[in-house]
Amino acid sequence: MAITEQSLNWDYDGPIMEVAGLEKHFPQSTGIVHQLIGGDTKHVKAVDGVDMAIESGETMGLVGESGCGKSTLGEVLIGLQEPTGGSIKFLGTELSSMSDAQHKEFRRNVQMIFQDPYESLNPRFSVEQWIREPLEVHDIDNQDERIYEALERAELTPPENYIGEHPHELSGGERQRVSIARALVLEPKFIVADEPVSMLDVSVRASILNLLRKLVDELDMGALYISHDLSLIRQMCDRTSVMYLGKVVERGPTERLIKGPKHPYARALLDAVPVPNPEHNISEPQLEGEPPDPVDLPEGCNFRPRCPFAAEECFEEPGLDAYETADGEHAAACWRVETVDEM
């Protein structure tokens, strides 16, 4: 690719994707009467001030319950949704200030793999048409070769057996591989995978996870892996962020986080994951109820109303720097980590 004046800065050696104070607030539709009497428009704070940096070759895990904003964050990162605040930098360049050419380059280098293998392929496209489309859109040559290469990368071999197929002729695992081939045919530098295996059979999950991990490694991509299941995150991710009501409440190297979660929400989340070990009987849940809608959030710590360890100091909002290990790798937005650790 010819380097033009407007090209993105490919020599940038900072994180491939970096966000700061990222916000995505949706106005909540209120009745017309409410609007007429001049009531405030309330906002659903799906993403509410997230800082995150992802390096090339690294997979960041993002875990939380449905409605915590993790999928919205993923879509904002790849430009499917406009943020309402904060900054997104790709290769050090602010997304909102990119030129058209740069934006096109961004579009080509940032891709996504979706959750539902049955809805994420157009039922009317053959595998070949589906993988060719990104190449047509970006006007890239040697299309046939690239399609073959992408299919081989996604381990759909031999490619001749697959290019003519339509989605209904493929199994769930094969469809997900087609999605991966389509996402990779543009040779992107950053990829978001939103629950890519949660709808697949257990026996094929591992092969898709292993494939994704291998590709992130080989192609030196940055990746965000979104899931509600910490046991899958553990297989896939170098570092993990735990999200609750639009905020990252804990972040650390995945193994350390799983062996020793710090935020009470992360502890509960981990405790709730069932384990394939019959000695481990289901225990009393640490949390009752469900997360509130992210509209009228409580003062102070978001998690305070559900937190079994909440205390006076929790009326003040903790940042991710409220608890930090000495090496700075593991952080939690909780004032009471040490107290709870002792309990």
Binding site: L80, V110, M112, E119, L121, H138, G164
Partner: protein, 311 residues
Amino acid sequence: MSDQNKTALDSESNVDALDTELSTWRERQADAWRRRLAFLKREPMGLAGILILLAIVLVAIFAPVIAPYEPTETDYGNSLAPPSAEHPLGTDSAGRDIFSQLVFGARPALQIGLLSAISVAFVGMNVGLVAGYYGGYVDDALMRLVDFAYGIPFTPFIIVLVALWEPSKWTIVGAIALLLWRQTARVVRSHVLNLKEKPFVKSARTVGASDRRIIYRHIAPNVLPLVFLYGSFAIAWAILTEAAISYLGFGDPTAVTWGQMLQSAQQSQALARDAWWWFTMPGIAIMLTVISAFLIGRGYEEQLNPELQEP
């Protein structure tokens, strides 16, 4: 499995490969059609509709061969003759052969029906696609237009329009296209709202596909069956409307249409003169055509929405 296209054209020996590829392609197309038409097996009513319509189409195409007389050929010595071997469906007050008029009347009926269906489908689909896909102000504006079109009473509007323009079948097609797209647009829009949230559409946006590409390559093919459905209903409406307009005397008086036949029967007080063959025959022809279009639409609809089949 199809071969690699890029090598297929290189040498003479690859003509065979190309041949097999073409034949697999043909098989695929044939398969696709078989699947598309498979509903007929399960929907005998739909099959009946198609057969009736097919018969009418054949009659229209071969009208000069089938009709024993020129439809406008008068024979005053033989006016109001009841059905006989000479005039199988009798004659009208000017001695014109009813059967021949019926046969030639199939032509404008089908022309009006098909043209209306196409224009309704075209306008309705595009309005629905654009409104549903873009949402926001575009959607609001287009949907107000739909509401407006819904607010206009159908028959009076067409009469006014026909009165303003000249009475011809084109006017009727135009009038129908101006009004009947509303339903197609509304239904297509609601489907688009649903489709545009599907991951495969998000995927198209992620790879950078333009709006135009997303609308016409990803969304439109998935609403086409619906458009076809409302198009087939439009055929029925158009034929009924033409008949009604002509009957009310706003049609083209020189044209041979089923509606005109009814109108002249009414003018000549065929009922009082016991010339039942004059007004029942065009009535039956209209009914058959309209019913066939409805049957096709209905059968197809049941295929699209399996829930409709549940009691």
